[in-house]
């Protein structure tokens, strides 16, 4: 995974969750991160869409299981 993608994703999560020390791994899930609730999840998705100039469907968003899958989805949209 490119550093640009990972750094951008980390920035979006840190801003959305107001947590400057948040560290993401590919296996990070919502349950492990304080404040990552359903509303924040959608806000993160919209921020990612804007930052990476991609678009997700509701089904794609609901199927995401962890940050690694999210990153892979972004990458697939950028091809």
């Amino acid at each position: 995974m490119s550093d640009n993608l990972w750094n951008g994703l980390t920035t979006v999560f840190r801003e959305a969750l107001d947590n400057d020390s948040l560290t993401l791994t590919e296996g990070t899930t919502a349950k492990e991160v304080e404040g990552w609730d359903s509303i924040t999840h959608v806000l993160i998705v919209v921020a990612v869409e804007k930052k990476f100039r991609v678009k997700f469907t509701a089904g794609e968003i609901q199927r995401l299981q962890n940050v690694g899958e999210f990153a892979a989805l972004i990458r697939s949209k950028q091809v």
Partner: protein, 132 residues
């Protein structure tokens, strides 16, 4: 999709203190009593702003992490509320335009009618309220 502007939502840390700020001014005249919207973990009240529109003060409950984060960042005005005759049709039109649905709930502030929060592709929050 016919929408009518109803209110601008404004986050406040303390409802009583916010209302006191406007006491004796035209804005406070006719302010509604605060109402708890339980599913959203907030209390709200409406201050008439002319032409059938309102400023909605929104006070998050202590366990409303999302809105409390916004307050900590200094956010005040944060959403625009519209009345709509056909809620589902209006939601679908905005989703088609790139918005995402955040939450759908029945609001005590509107007699139990359905409301939907959406966020646009440019990260602006919109509340659609089912017209009576």
């Amino acid at each position: 999709m016919e929408l009518t502007l109803h209110h601008i939502g404004c986050l406040v840390e303390d409802m009583a203190a916010a209302l006191e700020t406007y006491a004796g001014t035209p804005l406070a005249t006719g302010a509604s009593a605060p109402v708890a919207v339980s599913s959203q973990k907030v209390r709200v009240c409406f201050l008439p702003a002319g032409n059938g529109t309102f400023i909605e003060f929104v006070e998050p409950e202590p366990d409303n992490a999302f809105l409390l984060r916004m307050l900590r960042r200094g956010t005040s005005y944060y959403h625009v509320g519209y009345m709509c005759a056909d809620l589902d049709k209006s939601v679908q039109a905005l989703v088609t335009a790139g918005a995402h649905e955040l939450t759908r709930f029945q609001s005590e502030a509107f007699g139990g009618r359905y409301c939907v929060f959406l966020i646009t592709a440019q990260q602006q929050m919109i509340e659609l309220i089912e017209a009576a």
